[in-house]
Symmetry: C2
Subunit: 399 residues, 2 copies
């Protein structure tokens, strides 16, 4: 069995919040990063509605060349944000989540590429001071109150279109690559389908081409405790008590389900079936349950329950290309694609990436597939991607 190095356990809570396993040396780092804000008015959503003003945060590493053709876009995962590499301040405990693969001389080499990443719409953490997003918790200018459920349902295509508007504002007309993990992989693939002349390469890490009924139902498990929380109140809780209990339950499930038992049993090795408190009192919890509740509680700090519901929905509605079926959706793609699912992923299992890869190949597209190994399950795509550095580097430099 894979043995984790000792330093992993103490940093577990930080890890679960999306920070990076490998703390990079100063000389390998992209250095200090500045978070910026992009805004665009009258944003038309995929489902035919309008948002008066969309604001999202973004950041970049490396230098944009004169031709503006050295751009790599990083699209973030469900619980993540734009902070993929570097530190905002030298005192930051940990760098962005993919710092191990983004930086000078790294797989995504910031000596060569201008790497840009933005917060999505309906980001899980609208109250995180380092996140700027637009969603149900945003003030609706028409009413002066938060949108709540008046915010339109948004899709992965909308996330892509906000990024497109950001790139347009910077005069960027070509993406050397789009690279994303999990929900980020959905954006990456849809980018190539929506803007085939814009995107040259896609790396889909722990991803899918389309969400199947099993994944729709599994994602719904995260929404259910929020909807069942009486404080949710049909989404109208901004002037009262928030549905924190439901949100904590949801984030506990996100935490658990993103991990494989192999790592989970190491992280929570202090708990066992032999504990005496839960044997004697049905109200008592196992150590692992208390620890998971504490971790989930910490994750609620900056999170908003409605934003989580909208994120779940955006993922449930995903089929790359948003066409009648996956083949039709993928057919416009001109980019070459590299799929990197995690071999022991329990959330987005490798069969999903295989289906997209196979469909692209059947369409005569250039597509590659390799599995990430490691003890983390789904999170191998965040913590174990460094093992694919040579492959990523080669894929990015290929013509």
């Amino acid at each position: 069995m894979f043995k984790l190095k000792k330093f992993v356990i103490p940093t577990m809570f930080a890890l679960l919040q999306g920070a990076c396993l490998s703390s990079s040396q100063a000389q390998d780092s992209v250095g200090l990063v500045e978070k910026q804000v992009f805004s665009t008015p009258n944003f038309a959503t995929y489902n035919g509605q309008q948002i008066a003003e969309v604001k999202v945060g973004w950041e970049a590493y490396g230098e944009l060349n004169a031709a503006k053709d050295n751009v790599i876009l990083i699209t973030h995962f469900f619980s993540g944000n734009s902070h993929a590499a570097g530190r905002y301040a030298s005192s930051d405990a940990l760098p962005g989540y993919w710092d191990a693969i983004i930086g000078p001389g790294k797989a995504i080499d910031t000596d060569t590429y201008y790497v840009i990443s933005s917060d999505t719409l309906v980001n899980q953490e609208p109250y995180n001071p380092l996140v700027t997003t637009t969603g149900p918790a945003t003030i609706n200018p028409a009413t002066g109150s938060p949108y709540a459920l008046d915010f339109p349902v948004v899709t992965i295509r909308d996330f892509v279109n906000v990024q497109k508007a950001l790139l347009d504002s910077l005069g960027i007309e070509k993406l050397h690559a789009v690279v994303g993990a999990s929900m980020g992989s959905l954006q990456a693939l849809d980018w190539a389908a929506a803007y085939p002349d814009f995107v040259e390469r896609v790396i889909s890490v722990i991803g899918a081409g389309a969400v199947d009924p099993w994944t729709i139902a599994s994602l719904q498990q995260w929404a259910n405790p929020i909807i069942a929380d009486p404080n949710w109140n049909q989404g109208n809780y901004y002037s009262g008590e928030a549905p924190t209990s439901g949100l904590r339950q949801a984030l506990g499930m996100v935490t658990l389900q993103a991990m494989h038992p192999q790592i989970f049993n190491q992280v929570y090795a202090s708990s066992s079936a032999r504990e005496t408190a839960p044997l004697h009192d049905i109200r008592e919890n196992f150590t692992v349950v208390n620890l998971l509740n504490t971790a989930a509680e910490a994750r609620t700090t900056f999170a908003d329950a409605n934003h989580l519901l909208y994120l779940v929905r955006a993922n449930q509605l995903f089929m790359a290309g948003f066409a009648e079926n996956l083949a039709a959706g993928l057919s416009p793609i001109r980019a070459k694609t590299l799929f990197l699912p995690s071999a022991n992923d329990l959330l987005l299992q490798p069969y999903l990436a295989q289906e997209a890869h196979r469909t692209l190949q059947e369409l005569g597209k250039e597509s590659y597939y390799e599995e990430i190994e490691g003890p983390w399950g789904h999170l191998n795509g965040v913590y174990m991607l460094e093992q694919k550095s040579a492959l990523i580097e080669e894929f990015l430099s290929s013509q």
Copy 2:
């Protein structure tokens, strides 16, 4: 990909309630089955408490021989009950859940063996007219009201001890085998550890030797929505509204998590990411979510929320032999053991059975291991076990 025969889909709801895939021919059947009730006073629980009276239902197939040494005990799974084979009435739509492997000339041959099965303590369905169980919904003779949370926490060992008392009452002093799926497999293995001179063979189907932190946390997901339901009221709901919403959420998760995406996506193929209702209204659900809610709602009919909490706890507390560690717990075993995990089980993954199998072999015990194939995930142990008929027959007839 494995293709299901067409008849499977229409009977899905029945299947999910524990009925059997293969409807047996009359001539192969154990025939009409009579449900009986066993009761025992002053039952001492593993955690040192007492239950004034334990009553459980039981049934049997085949004939007990004069030496009373042809007995096979079947121990049931989480959502199951004693009804493993045959029909209570000829009008019953479906036979017991393992009718495909229990009957005259079948893997567990009722021409040879006397096959007996009982309802467990804290059975999920105390309101099922065909189930007799004792648990939080039972009237506490000391108060005249349901026990609610005053009912002692019970363990798999308590389930075993109730079965032991039942067998004692029948003058049975030897078990040719104990055979169980999932929670039933936990009982089967613990039987051999608790009463090594009593048990000659164990078949552990989709089972484990001990519950690990990942499984403890995963099971807790089923308890959480009940505890969060305001109607749960610390377990005191018997004179008011029951926590049906939390119970439905829990049973929806049980239904989903017991299945592999391969079968789930066939059963719920009518749903897709391209549905328009959920695209236009965040309050609308996908077809698969509505169907799963309906299935879960149906499963609440006879179920009790506190019973489900106690069942979760009994499973969370499991380590075969109830000793300091698994090796110590398994060391008294004299029975030979056959492990039959499901290759694509997402609930009790094969590594759990492998650990128990390996530990038994390291202890010098006779242990065998083979994986069940099929599209069902965990439920392969219920619906696809017939493929192991020859192996089971051989194991049962071996000396």
